[in-house]
Symmetry: C2
Subunit: 140 residues, 2 copies
């Protein structure tokens, strides 16, 4: 992916991770039989992983078939915007030791639903971009 193909200035790796770690809300894209789907959700980023919680259902079912996911978060401000896209592999956390460790993250859900399964996303790539907002340039 080059800047000719996608607009926006590429953010340095550490800046992208910092924005990720400061975010709690994003969207997870999954794909089954080549049909993409998107789920808005709460997440938390640690040093090198991303954690979500969910209840057993569609999302988890889809990730069991295809663990490749993309997670996006963004913020649109007055004159600029940023967006981070993580591509990686999702895995349901099953061992009690890992669940106990995940509990310590205090990953809260904004909705009033108890969601008992942790899912860990191991990033393969983290792509952060910053956009300057404003009108389009005039044509020549």
């Amino acid at each position: 992916m080059t800047s000719d193909e996608e607009p926006g200035a590429v953010l340095p790796w550490n800046e992208a991770w910092e924005l990720l770690r400061g975010s709690r809300f994003g969207r997870l894209a999954v794909s089954v039989a080549n049909q993409p789907d998107i789920f808005p959700l709460n997440f938390i980023a640690t040093t090198d992983k991303i954690w979500i919680r969910t209840n057993p259902g569609t999302k988890l079912a889809e990730m069991a078939i295809n663990p490749l996911v993309a997670l996006e978060c963004d913020e649109v401000g007055d004159g600029e915007a940023w967006s981070i896209v993580v591509k990686g592999t999702a895995r349901a956390v099953e061992s009690q030791t890992e669940i106990d460790a995940a509990d310590l993250l205090h990953l809260e859900s904004w909705t009033r639903t108890r969601k008992w399964t942790y899912v860990e996303i191991t990033p393969a790539s983290v792509d952060g971009r910053k956009f300057v907002l404003g009108g389009e340039p005039d044509g020549d």
Copy 2:
């Protein structure tokens, strides 16, 4: 998908479309070789279609291989949030008649880039949900 699987109250079809038509910013999920990807972008929804504009590049290239896409937009407010997810098929608009018609939509991009190709998304499903935000319920 039932409400047991995904949280949130399902919005009526017309309410979901109304929120879509009032939105100008969302995220497009595509999938190539089962790897989902997400792109933040501007869009406009008409009566029964969604339009985006892009420059020839990654997104378009991926949609030519797999035209199945998902588009999401959401809004997080004080006590509640909503999210609309459209699944559908993308098609680059190529005839001049269609381009002229698309021009009339005044689909603006927030970034200072001229993007010359219109892409039309024909929805196969529109799923709107409303979420009540707040702390999690206490466990029993």
